[in-house]
């Protein structure tokens, strides 16, 4: 079983965002709508790629995630960095908040 969420960068400030259950975009991966399985993932990506979102976000794509104790965690390290911020600057990015 593979879980996926949709992510992108926000147009105006470029920050990392995730597609939420109500169709908005959140800075917190735990607000994401999670697609379970291929078909649900295709629907999620289609929604994230809607042409009208071109004024909200840039470059939507799906990432694999796992449900862990602390919440949703991407399986790829690159995406973990996107949910946190640079590993070499713990004072910056979402990890600093």
């Amino acid at each position: 079983m593979s879980l996926q969420v949709a992510t992108a960068n926000r147009l105006d400030d470029g920050l990392v965002v995730f597609l939420t259950a109500n169709g908005g975009w959140s800075e917190n991966i735990n607000d994401s709508r999670v697609a379970d399985g291929k078909e649900a993932a295709a629907v999620l990506l289609q929604e994230a790629s809607a042409p009208e979102l071109d004024v909200v976000i840039v470059g939507p794509y799906l990432i694999d995630v796992e449900q862990q104790d602390g919440g949703l965690v991407p399986t790829k390290y690159r995406e973990v960095l996107r949910t946190k911020g640079p590993s070499v600057r713990q004072d910056l990015g979402y990890q600093a908040v």
Binding site: N9, L11, D12, D13, G14, L15, V16, D54, V55, V58, G59, T75, K76, Y77, R78, L81, R82, G85, P86, S87, V88, R89, L92, G93
Partner: protein
């Protein structure tokens, strides 16, 4: 130093206003991302992992104090209080907001700066020797020619949509500090048999996934003919360079596939048609540009400074800094002072807003307001009186800028890597920090001597790993970072591409692997040999042995 004329000023102001309008149209939804992307890239705006990135041009790595101060101000006002100096002598900001970038560009334009030629398939910002106009070993200051190249190449209508990006580097010294042989075009100033000054033209060098040392397309081109000759090369590339495959589109592939003789014939044929045209630059015009880079008002000084000798005797750390970071100047009594942006355990090339402002102030106090950026991600105050070196170092050191490690094992080039870059496959910075900490002891570094470690976080090689004495390439192996080591690379006039030592190392193993190489070098070296000299003498095998044993 070169000051903008009215034409330069108008050009930058118009471009800044155009981009503001383009951003507004993008935010309003009048243009799509697909339409906007090439426009933002033409203005140095990338989208990276966490945010947008703005790359600002520092033509030929030369800055005035007011410009560096403005770069610090932009770091504070539009970013998170720091900037990152790059291997192309530019600066990058990691967190600007798209809707604020037009204001940042407006602030830049007020100090005659911009982000033009920092991205896109155009002729990029020209780079050169960071000691230009100061080095004791240079034939002539190369910057007047760099500025002429800038004027020729900026918005050149014929070369705005090249097959791929195009990088030119120039050295005015036989000791190449600008890595000219690994650029699309490298220019090396020298004298011909008649005693005239001109340039050897090297073409088709480059790093990335297919590294090459460039080949000489013409041994000597006179100053007056340089620009028509460059135009001829670019025309040949624009016409014959491959557009079918992004990874085969650089001129190095054209030179490799067609052979340098064929390229030479094509260039000469093209040049014959245009050499007497408008691109021939007269001696009078060249003299005007040379005048723009006239030396500052040096005092007549003795080359011996009793103050310097005294301070060196009293302060060991200062003496070490002088030994590693201070370079001979052409003017008696003066020296070139390198400001290391590689504190032990720090992030290579990063400087805070306050540090930038401090170096700007110090440049006014001690170096005629002149600052340079190096392709090895450090700063330079090029014209410091020897008698002022201790006062300068004391102020630098108090701000964390007094590390005496230039050219040493901790003076590492590292690209931003996976911590920032959307293309990266592994992190570069944390590895550079761990190597720096492992070798942080100053006595040990001085004992090891010159050793250039260069780290790239992906095959695009922004961290120049191919030309590191020890090169490290970070890759992704089934979701884990691992690091491939190359040995024997060299970015100097003896340019060479490093050879892969063998299988890669995990993140946990790689620092020990580097240390074993250094230990082997120490055990093997003859007196006076640098790491690269020993490697050339004994070859790969002894080093391979310590890395892999019987593996």
């Amino acid at each position: 130093m070169y000051r903008y004329d009215d034409f330069d000023r108008q050009l930058v102001e118009e471009r800044t206003a155009q981009f503001r309008e383009q951003v507004q149209r993008r935010l309003a939804g009048d243009i799509t991302e697909e339409q906007f992307r090439p426009l933002r890239l033409m203005n140095g705006v990338y989208l990276q992992l966490h945010a947008y990135m703005l790359r600002v041009a520092i033509p030929y790595g030369t800055l005035r104090a007011d410009q560096l101060r403005a770069l610090g101000g932009i770091a504070r006002k539009y970013d998170k209080g720091y900037g990152h100096f790059t291997t192309r002598q530019n600066i990058q900001y990691n967190w600007p907001k798209l809707d604020e970038i037009p204001d940042a560009l407006l602030d830049l334009s007020k100090v005659e700066m911009h982000a033009i030629q920092t991205s896109g398939n155009c002729i990029r910002n020209t780079t050169t020797d960071q000691y230009a106009g100061a080095a004791a070993d240079e034939i002539e200051d190369p910057r007047p020619y760099c500025e002429l190249i800038r004027q020729w190449s900026t918005f050149h209508p014929e070369f705005t949509y090249l097959p791929r990006k195009f990088k030119i580097a120039v050295t005015g010294s036989p000791n190449d500090r600008a890595a000219v042989k690994v650029h699309d075009i490298g220019l090396r100033m020298h004298h011909n048999e008649a005693g005239e000054t001109g340039f050897e033209v090297v073409v088709g060098g480059g790093l990335g996934r297919t590294p090459f040392v460039g080949k000489t397309v013409r041994d000597f081109i006179g100053k007056n003919d340089l620009f028509s000759y460059l135009e001829a090369i670019l025309r040949v590339y624009n016409r014959f360079g491959r557009r079918d495959n992004k990874y085969k589109a650089r001129i190095k592939i054209l030179v490799h596939e067609e052979g340098i003789e064929k390229i030479r014939d094509l260039v000469e044929e093209e040049w014959a048609q245009i050499k007497d045209g408008s691109l021939r630059v007269s001696d009078e015009e060249i003299a005007q540009y040379v005048e723009q880079f006239a030396p500052p008002a040096f005092e007549d000084l003795s080359d011996d400074s009793p103050e310097l000798a005294l301070h060196k005797a009293e302060h060991r750390r200062f003496a070490n800094w002088v030994q590693s970071n201070v370079i001979a100047h052409k003017q008696p009594g003066y020296a070139i002072a390198n400001v290391s942006l590689k504190p032990i355990g720090g992030i290579p090339g990063d400087a805070t807003d306050v540090q930038m402002e401090l170096v700007a102030d110090l440049s006014e106090k001690y170096s005629f307001g002149d600052v340079r950026v190096t392709h090895e991600q450090n700063l330079v105050l090029p014209h410091v009186k020897k008698a002022d070196l201790f006062a300068l170092w004391s102020e630098l050191d108090a701000a964390g800028l007094g590390t005496g490690n230039l050219g040493y094992v901790t003076d590492i080039i590292a690209c931003p890597g996976l911590d920032y870059c959307a293309l990266a496959t592994a992190r570069s910075i944390p590895l550079s920090q761990r190597i720096s900490e492992r070798f942080g002891d100053m006595d040990r570094q001085h004992d090891i001597g010159e050793l250039k470690i260069k780290i790239s976080g992906c095959i695009n090689a922004c961290g120049h790993h191919h030309v590191g004495h020890i090169g490290i390439l970070g890759l992704d192996k089934r979701g884990k970072e691992f690091y491939q080591i190359t040995l024997g690379g060299d970015a100097s006039e003896n340019a060479a591409i490093g050879k892969i030592a063998g299988a890669g190392f995990s993140e946990a193993e790689v620092v020990d692997a580097i240390e074993s190489l250094v230990t082997k070098y120490i055990d093997t070296r003859d007196p006076g040999e640098r790491f690269i000299d020993t490697y050339r003498r004994v070859g790969m095998d002894p080093f391979k042995e310590v890395l892999y044993g019987d593996r």
